[in-house]
Structure formats: C-alpha cells, structure tokens
C-alpha cells in the first residue's frame, strides 16, 4: 500500500537517522514499537549502542535470517530478533528494575500528543469502546534517564501533536526531553517547546504554524 502525499521535511528513516546521531557511544537504549524501531538501523559509525528490550534481553540484534528465528526470541513488538555477542537474558522484574531504576540511558517512543510541559500521551485515545492497553510505556517514561519522542508533527487529519496540554489520557507527566518530527527537532524546556533544528527545506514559520503551543527559537 502506498500513500501519495507531498513529502515535506524528513522521511521516517531520516527522522530515525537524525535521532541516532544524538545517542552517545555506549548508551543503553530502549526503542518503542513502530517508528522508534527504525532507529536501530542507523548506528553512527564508530559507536556502539546496546539495545534493551523490556521482555528480557540486553544486546538485541537485528531480525534473524529467514527461517533462523526462534519463537522464544522476540522483541517488545513481538517480532523475532537476534541476540548479539555480549547479550544477556533476564526475567521481567529484573528487566523493569533496569527501566525503573534509571539504568537505561535513553528511551525512544512514539507519541499521540506531547505537551509543552513534557507530558506524553501515547497509549489510549480514551474512547469508550477502545480496548485499553498500556504495556511498558508508563514504566519507561517514569524510569529512563532521557525520553525522546519520534512522531509525525501532525495527525493524519492535520491536528498538531505538539500541544499546550494533552487531551488524551497521559502516559506520564513531564517526561519528554526531546521530540523528533519530519519537520524539526524540538526540545522540551522549562519555558516550553524550543527549536533545536529545522529539517532541510523547512522554515520556522511552517513549523510554528503546525505546533499547538508556542515554539521558542533559541
């Protein structure tokens, strides 16, 4: 299935590649399901990231070759993965001890809404007939040292995802440090959203108009 629409700013792959540039060598990183998973493809040369998956593996590697997978070796998105040399398996309480105890350096999550105070909503639309499902997101945002959101700047209907205040149920309060969209890299600061960098070919006004809260230009 291909959706034809005008491409402004970065592709998802380019967003992931840009984010990966901000991860320091040797970092322990947890990647959420969806766009965040793409980050694993773009490790800058000369760096090693150690990927944690909350279902009990540190040192997660890429998907296995066809037919070489093991149904007992999966990631948090329940896709088959591999274990790199130097990996370790552990149980769920130990895995979330790593998360809650502040041992993971960085977590990258998708977002439905991010507020200018760092609030994140990414687990539920709050609609009455939705099946609520939270997974490990609330633990991740509460425990990981830095939490980055990677997301399209606006919803499919054009509404800003970067907002004054989240309308959807929260995943966590004041937890997002930085946001990567197709249009820009934006920090959450005590003064609100602050532009870090515009995507190539995108101008500030274009981003500001599509952001649901004031955007500081530093």
């Amino acid at each position: 299935m291909t959706i034809h629409r005008e491409q402004i700013g970065r592709s998802k792959d380019e967003m992931a590649r840009r984010l990966a540039l901000d991860i320091p060598d040797g970092a322990y990183v947890n990647l959420g399901i969806g766009i965040p998973e793409l980050v694993a493809r773009f490790v800058p040369e000369g760096r090693t990231f150690v990927y944690h998956t909350e279902n009990g593996l540190l040192g997660m590697g890429p998907s296995p070759e066809n037919g070489a997978g093991d149904p007992d070796l999966i990631n948090a998105g329940k896709r088959q993965v591999t274990a790199l040399p130097g990996a370790a398996y552990f149980h769920h309480a130990d895995s979330f001890a790593m998360i809650r105890g502040g041992h993971i350096d960085l977590c990258v999550l998708g977002a439905m809404q991010v507020a200018c105070n760092g609030d994140l909503a990414n687990w539920s639309t709050g609609e009455p007939d939705a099946i609520p499902a939270v997974g490990g997101a609330m633990d991740l945002v509460a425990g990981v040292k830095s939490v980055y959101a990677i997301t399209q700047h606006c919803t499919k209907t054009g509404d800003p995802k970067l907002v004054e205040r989240c309308a959807y149920p929260l995943t966590g309060r004041g937890v997002i440090n930085r946001i990567y969209t197709e249009l820009a890299v934006i920090d959450v600061t005590p003064a609100g959203f602050a532009l870090v960098e515009l995507s190539p070919g995108v101008d500030f006004e274009y981003v500001r108009e599509r952001t649901g809260a004031p955007l500081l230009r530093r």
Binding site: E54, N55, L73, I74, F96, G126
Partner: protein, 236 residues
C-alpha cells in the same frame, strides 16, 4: 524422596478448581505454556482469574481459554493483538473484567507476592488515569503510587529444562514472567522440553530454584502459537 515430575499436562492441571487465580507465563507466544493451557481448557475449570501480560492471539492457547469463556477476569498490561478478536469481543460484550496494570508494575507486584512484600511504591503511572483511586506519597520530593502484591493459586509456566527437584532453566526471552510467577503462586506447574535428574543442571545457572516449583511436566516438542495462528488452528 523429592520428585516433582508428573505424567502429562492433563495430570498437572487436574486439581485447578473453579474460581482459581492462575498466573500464565509468556510474553506473546514466547514462554507461553500452550500445552498446559490446552489441558486447562480440557479440564474445564471456570470463573478463573488470569494474570498474564497479554490475552493471546488467534484462537489457540490463552485466547482459546478466553474464547471458551472460562475466564471471568484478566489482570494484564496489554490485552490487544493484531491477530485476535477474542478478548475485545468478550470485553465489549461485558463478559470479562479487565484490570489494566503497567507492565513493570505488573512484574513488580508479582515479584513482591513471591518475596513476601505486601506493598511497595512505584513512580510508574503517576499522573495518569491508571493512578485513579490509588494512594500516592512523596519520597525525596517525587511522587509515587502504592501498589499491592499479586499472588495466585496456580502458575502455568514454560521452561526449557527442569530437574526432578523442580530447578528450571528457560529459553531466551521465553523466560519473561516465568521466574517471578513461579515465586508468587501456591502451586507452580512448569512444562519443559526435557526433564533431567538432579545434578543435570549446573547449580550456577538455575534460574528458578526448585523451592518455587511444585510440578514439572515434559512436553518434548511444544507447539508454537504463531504457527498455529498462521495455519488458522483453533482449540479445542
């Protein structure tokens, strides 16, 4: 004489009564004790409370247990899958109760149950709807929620190998909730690919010491949920 080996899945689950609370290991299909779950369906116990991270996929294993309407309440973190409408249908029609728990809180509550810690404080879910009705408290200037332990009457778990004393090792990320559920249940039942004599597992690499395990049952070639789902299988 300590010998925890039982003949088969059927014998292993034969005394699970109606109304029991049952922890079921696994994260998705990894570590899911599918043969024990199918034996529980055959056994017929009803009004179960199931504590498990997910609600199964397709119409086999955990999803089949739900489909057979044996479960009145589920305590889990993620009851949605691309491959199953079983839980959503039951939930929307009011036939099943759901207690949604953040995954790390779920794991820690189970671990606390096993470790004799009746309650603890966690930062997860502070400020979210899942904090509604929960006690909160500040420590060192930060807010935390009070959470209670989780214990169960039975645990159904899948490992790779056990000895007859009940020492268990697991397979890769199939480990997930197994070791902590083994601690938190009154009766812990583990299916493994192979059972060996005491001494057959190096004491340095045991993951679940035998004290946490009551019954071990050999299922030499367990089925894989994803293959069954892909083939459109249903149970029974």
């Amino acid at each position: 004489m300590v010998d925890k080996q039982v003949q088969g899945p059927k014998e292993a689950v034969a005394d699970i009564p109606d109304g029991a609370s049952v922890m079921i290991g696994g994260f998705g299909e990894a570590g899911s004790p599918i043969e024990l779950i199918h034996a529980l369906i055959d056994h017929g116990a009803r009004r179960l409370t199931v504590i498990s991270n997910n609600t199964g996929s397709g119409e086999v294993g955990l999803a089949a247990l739900l489909k057979a309407e044996r479960v009145s309440k589920v305590i889990c973190s993620f009851p949605r899958t691309a491959n199953s409408t079983v839980f959503p249908d039951l939930y929307r029609s009011g036939k099943i109760e759901l207690e949604l728990v953040p995954q790390g809180t779920l794991a820690e509550r189970i671990r606390a149950g096993g470790a004799g810690i009746p309650a603890f404080y966690t930062p997860a879910a502070v400020g979210t709807p899942l904090a509604d009705g929960k006690e909160s408290r500040e420590f060192d200037g930060k807010e935390f929620l009070l959470e209670r332990w989780l214990r169960a009457d039975f645990a159904l778990i899948k490992g790779r190998c056990a000895d007859t004393f009940g020492n268990v090792v697991y397979n890769k990320t199939g480990r997930n909730f197994g070791p902590i559920m083994a601690m938190a249940a009154k009766v812990t039942i583990v299916q493994v690919n192979s059972i060996v004599q005491p001494g057959g597992i190096d004491p340095e690499v045991v993951v679940s010491p035998g004290i946490f395990v009551d019954r071990v049952v050999e299922v030499a070639e367990p089925m894989h949920e994803s293959e069954l789902v892909a083939a459109g299988a249903t149970y029974p």
